[in-house]
């Protein structure tokens, strides 16, 4: 297969075109975010290059007919929600995966029950929780019903990541610590936690980014106070201005900085793991 140069280069060119297809809308979005304002619309041609719409987001432009994006409070809510969701689902995921290191009756049922959370479409999850909340006369709110549905979605990711991590390391390491008389809490802190730290970091990254961007699960569950995706969705129905594109560029940059933080922490944890391994070799 690999010694067919013609096929190989054909596929290579195709893959490049494919990646182009994935990125093209972003390139266009990025270009149009530098449209002049406030008269420039969300289409070509670029009348004049400017950073007007970026200033517009931060309220640095004189008032015009284009209303500012209603994102200030929504951003804070989404961040808070993503943070709490991240902590909750990582704790739940680690606990459940820890239980799966031992065989137990009904493990198949629990496994599928958890995985169901990432399979059932968000619109159904949101509808279901809204129906229950209405029936019990519970007010729907982003910190209540929406938080609950977000964890339904991110907990399975954390669980699967932690399951993969626990599968990779040998139980006898912990057993050795226990048999040496180290108490379980200390064993967890000193032995287990450093070993599973990369997994915890990955589940946190998954949970935060998924929750921060989650839209269908939030739509029916958030109540009156909007989260960021809901606020963005609200601007869809009215006329679109390039400020939404500028905001798209900014959120993308934010996501990349999260990824960068993740990368740095991950590299540090790998380095410290290597250091321990070397020390063991010396000893």
């Amino acid at each position: 297969m690999e010694n067919r140069p013609a096929l190989r280069s054909a596929l290579a060119i195709y893959t490049m075109l494919f990646i182009g297809f994935l990125y093209a809308p972003f390139v266009v979005l990025g270009i149009l975010s530098f449209q002049s304002g406030p008269e420039g619309g969300p289409q070509f041609p670029i009348i004049e290059w400017s950073t007007y719409w970026y200033e517009h987001i931060f309220g640095l432009t004189p008032p015009s007919r284009v209303a500012p994006l209603p994102i200030g409070e929504a951003l804070v809510r989404s961040m808070t929600l993503a943070f709490v969701t991240m902590v909750t689902s990582t704790v739940l995921g680690t606990m459940t995966a820890q239980a799966f290191r031992r065989r137990f009756k009904g493990s198949g049922f629990v496994f599928y029950l958890v995985v169901l959370g990432m399979i059932v479409p968000g619109v159904l999850v949101g509808l279901g929780i809204a129906l229950v909340a209405n029936d019990l006369s519970i007010a729907r709110a982003w910190w209540g019903t929406a938080f609950v549905t977000h964890v339904l979605y991110t907990f399975p990711f954390a669980f699967l990541v932690m399951l993969a991590i626990f599968n990779r390391f040998d139980k006898s390491i912990e057993e050795a610590a226990w048999s040496l008389g180290v108490p379980p809490i200390r064993t967890f802190r000193k032995v287990t936690f450093p070993l599973i730290f990369p997994g915890i970091l990955s589940s946190m990254l998954f949970a935060f980014t998924l929750s921060y961007d989650e839209f269908p699960r939030t739509l029916f569950a958030a109540g009156a106070d909007l989260t960021l995706p809901l606020a963005i969705y609200g601007t869809f129905s009215v006329e679109i201005h390039p400020n939404i594109f500028a905001f798209g560029v900014l959120t993308t940059l934010f996501s990349f900085s999260l990824l960068a933080v993740y990368g740095v922490l991950m590299a540090a944890s790998v380095r410290s793991a290597k250091k321990i391994a070397i020390q063991e070799d010396i000893e």
Binding site: Q98, A99, R103, L124, I232
Partner: protein, 308 residues
């Protein structure tokens, strides 16, 4: 369980079996396991299973103008199946699902083939895969919205096509049609097809292909009889991801069709918007049944537990 049986058959695992049995009997260990799984399990039952059952229940409630009453009736169900608009939405959802599934498969497979089989360097493989996943890190809604300046009458596609002289008039049917919805969904979900297929392809033993070639098999025959069958579990996993997400969609169709293309998801959103909860629940149940049916059918193709 399968592993235990396997070990017994090996004739090596008596001690393991004994240990498993001991672990199961140990009441202290069992209590810890129960405590560990309790929060997660309760969360899923309380906030996922109960709401889904509630949805089924409410679909039989009586819909008043702005409220619902727990008097059981089939009215909402009859309304769904007797209305051209709603039943049409079901058919449209299935049609768009099929088109997007085919598009993600045919567009994604060659890329997966290149990544999984032709790139031998593991680091390079990861880099190309990450390159495909990066767009996933932008806001979903803004990703959808980005197609508007691409496909519009004065959009990038029309400008490029006019510049190179392929067309003289801008094509107007690119945006706010079923076409734009399909394009948008394909771009967003194709990555979920590429990933699993590339993963399965990268696990194929190269000597298998070499042997086939030495025996004189043509490239097409090798693909048909070795490579494709071995990649099938990846195709099924990718198809499940794409299917579940496309069937539950409403944002892409709302943003890119100018509200002209109504999927089952869009019907649920409008019904909830006008407080027609019972009717929304009917559509929700129908959507659940469709998804369960499709996922079960896909799982019939290969036994994933055996393959992965």
């Amino acid at each position: 369980m399968a592993e235990v049986r396997h070990r017994i058959q090996d004739g090596t695992g008596t001690s393991t079996v004994a240990r498993v049995a001991a672990e199961r009997k140990d009441p202290h260990a069992r209590r810890i396991t129960a405590l560990l799984i309790a929060p997660g399990t309760i969360w899923m039952i309380l906030f996922l299973v109960v709401p889904m059952l509630m949805m089924v229940y409410v679909s039989f409630w009586t819909q008043k103008t702005f409220t619902i009453e727990p008097t059981l009736t089939l009215n909402s169900w009859i309304a769904f199946f007797s209305s051209e608009t709603y039943f049409g939405a079901l058919l449209r959802t299935i049609r768009i699902w099929l088109i997007v599934l085919a598009a993600t498969f045919f567009l994604g497979y060659p890329t997966a083939l290149f990544i999984g089989l032709f790139i031998k360097n593991k680091t390079l493989q990861t880099i190309v895969l990450v390159l495909c996943v990066v767009p996933f890190w932008t806001s979903f809604l803004i990703r959808v919205l980005a197609w508007r300046p691409m496909l519009g009458k004065e959009g990038a596609v029309n400008i490029v096509l006019q510049k190179i002289g392929l067309i003289s008039q801008p094509i107007e049917v690119l945006l706010f049609t079923e076409f734009s919805v399909v394009i948008g969904m394909t771009q967003i979900y194709v990555v979920f097809m590429v990933g699993p297929i590339a993963f399965m392809l990268s696990r194929i033993d190269p000597s298998l292909i070499e042997a086939a070639r030495d025996l004189g098999a043509s490239t097409w025959r090798i693909f048909r009889t070795i490579i494709f069958p071995l990649s099938l579990p990846g195709v099924v996993v990718g198809a499940i991801f794409v299917s579940v997400m496309v069937l539950g969609e409403f944002a892409t169709s709302a943003a890119l069709s100018g509200r002209k293309v109504n999927l089952l998801g869009n019907i649920i959103v409008t019904q909830v918007g006008s407080l027609k909860w019972a009717f929304a629940a009917v559509v929700g149940v129908i959507l659940t049944v469709v998804i369960a049916f499709i996922v079960a059918a896909l799982l019939k193709i290969v036994d994933l537990r055996k393959e992965l």
